[in-house]
Amino acid sequence: MQDNQVDWIILDHPADVMVEVFGSTFEGLCQASVSALNHFLGVVLSVEPVRCERMQIEGATAEEKLVNVLRESLFLFAVDSQLVTKLAISCLKDNIMTVDACLSPAGLGPDSIEIKGVTYHGLKVETTACGYKAKLIFDV
């Protein structure tokens, strides 16, 4: 993916939220997906300090790993009002992915909607000439 390309776009869906996400690496794809999710969850309250957390993400496939990163991010927002603002994959081995995530306190923003869950519907992580892409549906 080139620097001037967007990392996610909104697609039409009759009831839920559908986005297409792009990344030059799988880590970039996860970061773009979290950014897209954050857009609908809330906004960072930047005056507050950030905290870091190590997450162990399970998943036999790229799709499962991607959804599980997003499920974790959604839970952190729903319960702790924290948004994952930055992530790095520190280890990717078989069915486990270790993710170092930066979290920031967050509140509701102008585009906030209630995301109930991150779905697997039609999800396929595809490789492209520029890296990776995937379409995600969030249930609202």
């Binding site: 869906h13 009831a15 519907h121």
Partner: protein, 483 residues
């Protein structure tokens, strides 16, 4: 329809379309739609989702979609599927994240002319009294033990604390509590996500609506149910909030992980499921029932909050208001039910995702006061047009496992609705139609604008013509609170 589809819709009659059984399908698909509605339905992928559901193991009868169907995830919204207890499965995606999202309708002793000048005061009062909107909290904060009690007792938990009458229980599906709820299946995370959301409305299409009966189709049934022309009603649409979302999420992830070991071939990962005889299926059903009971309690509490706000703001005595529950039904649920199939009575696991149970007169699960009339089937439309109350019918029960539609069904995406309403003040447009509205979300009214939904008149006509339920009354909105 595109030529690349692996199926071709075949018209059966003016209300029904068949997806014939081909390839690895375990059952045919059946879509209820008129020629007028079909183009809207075909605009999205919902018929593909019916086709996908028809591949699930142990499915019996048809994979069904009702006329309010639209694209969901995994199952279509407006979908019904029943599974054999021995060879079949249960799928969290066939219930949805908002477990036991549902609707209840209450009648009052007030007439429209009396209430009309007070509607803005009432709506503002309800809006202040009921926590609503995105991630709404501020309801009752539950300790873990209290949460367990809610999950077992359902609506009774609220009634035991003075929020409603014992008589309400007979007017709630499953008497307000599914008996096979298991609290040991509730994770700490589900508890955390739901512990302060009981007694909150939520956001999106969840609503509280003050309406009035504007047309009566079946005078005797309407009278039996306390629905009189010109009289005011209250409708509440909400579910199990974050508690249910988390339970669905966790079991879906578990079933996705286990799918290959069960040797189930899925058309879509969101259809992840487990054989009904497996431990994970039993555990999911126990947790799902717990979330369903949380939702029954939630709607019971919301109605009580509405009653108190109504009495206080309009200075009415409980007798003057006389808010009485007519019925409360689930839209998102999987249940073990006995149905006649090809002349045999069979216990089946019936999934309804965006569909309403519609029991006919004489059904053994109905309380005596509905045994002559059939079950009230509540069909909310959109906030600008109307809603319907129908009654379950005996005819053609097998074809939908006693189910009917749950609403109008969306026709515009939220983005499209926002684009089409750019620059419009929906609140003022509704006021011009004597409908006073309040919404917690900045964009909610535009996303939920009337034209974002199919015309419920057309949807309900198909349900009636197909013999799934019959119209009893039509209700027009006067005031709406959207989350």
């Amino acid at each position: 329809m595109s030529a690349s589809k692996p199926y071709k819709l075949k018209r059966i009659d003016e209300n029904r379309w068949l997806i014939p059984k081909t390839g690895k399908m375990k059952a045919p698909g059946l879509i209820f739609a008129s020629s007028k509605l079909l183009p809207d339905i075909e605009k999205d992928s919902s018929p593909d989702q019916v086709f996908n559901v028809a591949h699930l193991p142990g499915i019996v009868g048809h994979a069904i979609a009702l006329p309010d169907m639209h694209w969901g995830y995994g199952f279509p919204i407006g979908g019904v599927a029943a599974f054999d207890m021995e060879e079949g499965i249960v799928s969290p995606g066939g219930v949805g994240y908002d477990i036991n999202c549902g609707v209840r309708l209450a009648t009052t002793a007030l007439d429209k002319d009396f209430l009309e000048p007070h509607v803005p005061v009432l709506v503002n009062s309800l809006y202040s009294a009921i926590p609503s909107g995105l991630g709404s909290r501020g309801g009752i904060v539950l300790k873990r033990k209290d949460m367990n009690d809610v999950c077992i007792q359902g609506a009774q938990w609220a009634i035991g604390r003075g929020m409603g009458d014992q008589a309400d229980l007979e007017r709630i599906e499953d008497h307000g509590a599914i008996q096979w709820a298991e609290t040991k299946q509730i994770s700490d995370r589900a508890y955390e996500r739901g512990k302060d959301q009981l007694g909150t409305l939520g956001s999106g299409n969840h609503f509280i609506e003050i309406g009035y009966v504007d047309k009566v189709f079946e005078e005797s049934v309407a009278q039996d149910w306390g629905l009189f022309e010109g009289y005011v009603t209250l409708m509440i649409h909400s579910g199990s909030r974050g508690f249910g979302y988390q339970i669905c999420d966790e079991f879906l992830a578990r079933m996705v992980k286990n799918i290959s070991s069960q040797k189930i071939e899925l058309m879509d990962r969101q259809l992840a499921c487990a054989y009904l005889k497996s431990d994970v299926a039993r555990e999911y059903l126990g947790a799902m029932a717990a979330a369903a009971n949380f939702a029954f309690a939630n709607r019971q509490i919301l109605m009580n909050l509405a009653k108190l706000a109504w009495e206080t703001s309009l200075k009415l005595s409980p007798k003057e208001l006389s808010l009485r529950l007519l019925y409360d039904v689930s839209h998102n649920i999987a249940k073990m039910e006995r149905h006649e199939l090809e002349g045999k009575s069979r216990m089946l696991c019936v999934h309804r995702k965006g569909a309403t149970r519609a029991l006919p007169p004489g059904h053994p699960l109905l309380p005596t006061f509905f045994s002559q009339t059939g079950q009230p089937v509540l069909i909310p439309g959109d906030m600008g047009r109307c809603s319907y109350v129908m009654a379950g019918l005996k005819r053609d029960l097998d074809q939908t496992f006693a189910s009917a539609c749950h609403g109008a069904g969306r026709v515009l995406s939220r983005n499209e609705a926002l684009r089409k309403t750019k620059g419009r003040a929906i609140e003022r447009e509704l006021e011009d139609r004597n409908i006073y509205s309040r919404a917690a979300g900045r964009k909610t009214l535009r996303e939920e604008c009337p034209e974002a939904y199919k015309n419920v008149d057309e949807v309900v006509e198909i349900v009636q013509r197909a013999g799934l339920a019959k119209k009893i009354v039509r209700i027009k909105p006067m005031g709406v609170i959207k989350g």
